[in-house]
Amino acid sequence: MLDIYDFYDKMERNKIVLSFKGDITSELITSILQIMESKLDNLQEEPKIKKKVYNVLVECLQNLYHHTDEVAQTAIAMDNIAPRSAIFMIGKTGPEYTILTGNYILTENVGKLKDKLDKINLMDKEQLKEYYKETLSNDEFSEKGGGGLGMIDIARKSGQKLNYNFLAVENIYSFFSLNIKIS
C-alpha cells in the first residue's frame, strides 16, 4: 500500500501549497487559477508579487496543457498508451514562491527545447526583452498560438534562470521538469 504519510511529509517539508497530478484540462486551469488567486489574497501578498506568480503560473499551466496534448496525439497515432498526465506543485518558503512542473515530451523534441532554454539562460534582462520582441514580431505562430514566447516570458517575469531537467524514460518519451522561483 502507498505510504500516504510519506507523501504528506515530503510535501510538508517542501512547503507545498498546492499540488496536482493528472490530465491538464482548460477547466482545471481555470479552477487552479481561482484557488491560487484567493490563496495569494489571503496571504496578503504584495500586488507586484501576486501578479508575477499569477502570470508565471498561467504560462506554466498552459505549457503543460499544450504539450501533454501534443504527446497524446502522437501516442494515439502510434497506437500507444498515452502518457498524458502531468504534475505540478506550488511551494512557498518565506517570501519565495516555487513553481514545479513535470510532463512527458517526445524525445525527438528534447534537443530543440534544451537549446532554447540554454539560450534564454545566457541572456540578461535587456537581451531577454529584445529576444521577446523579436519572437513576438516574427510571423511564426504555432497552431496552438504559443508562438514560442512562453519560456521567454517566464524567464522575464521571474527574473531568474530556468532550472530544468530531462529524464530519458524510454525511446519515444522523455520527462521534462522545470523549477521556477519567484521572489
Partner: protein, 127 residues
C-alpha cells in the same frame, strides 16, 4: 456598421468596438488557451472597418493580465490598426493602461510601441 460587443469571462476580456464613436475597448484578463479563436471576431471586424474607417480611431487597452498566446493576437490587432493608419484613412491612437505598480504591464506596452508604428499613450491608473 454594427457595434461589436463581446462579454468578458474569467479568462477572456470584454471587447467593445463602437463604430459610431470609433472607439475600441479591450478590458479585463486575456488568458485563454486558444487565443486565435477568441480574437478572430475582432480581427474580422477590423478588416471590415478598414474599408470605411472614421477620421479618428481611439483604442483603449486596459488589461489586468494577458498570456503569451494572447500577446501575438494583440499584436495582430495592432497591425490591422497600423495598416488603417498607414492608408491615411484614419488617425489612430492606442491608449495603454497600466496600474501604478505594474512595471511588467508598462513594459509590455512599450514592447508594442517599439514594434507598431501608431502613436501610443501610456496611461497610469491607480489600483
Amino acid at each position: 456598421m454594427e457595434t461589436l460587443q463581446i462579454e468578458g469571462t474569467p479568462k477572456t476580456p470584454s471587447i467593445k468596438f463602437d463604430y459610431h464613436n470609433a472607439l475600441l475597448e479591450i478590458k479585463g484578463r486575456s488568458i485563454p488557451e486558444n487565443s486565435i479563436e477568441f480574437y478572430k471576431p475582432l480581427v474580422d471586424w477590423l478588416d471590415k472597418y478598414s474599408s470605411a474607417p472614421k477620421t479618428n480611431t481611439n483604442v483603449n487597452i486596459q488589461l489586468e493580465y494577458f498570456n503569451t498566446s494572447s500577446s501575438k493576437c494583440i499584436l495582430d490587432v495592432f497591425k490591422k490598426l497600423e495598416s488603417i493608419q498607414k492608408g491615411g484613412a484614419s488617425h489612430v491612437v492606442i491608449n495603454w493602461y497600466y496600474e501604478a505598480d505594474d512595471e511588467d504591464m508598462l513594459e509590455a506596452g512599450e514592447d508594442y510601441q517599439a514594434i507598431i508604428n501608431v502613436p501610443f499613450k501610456m496611461v497610469q491608473v491607480e489600483e
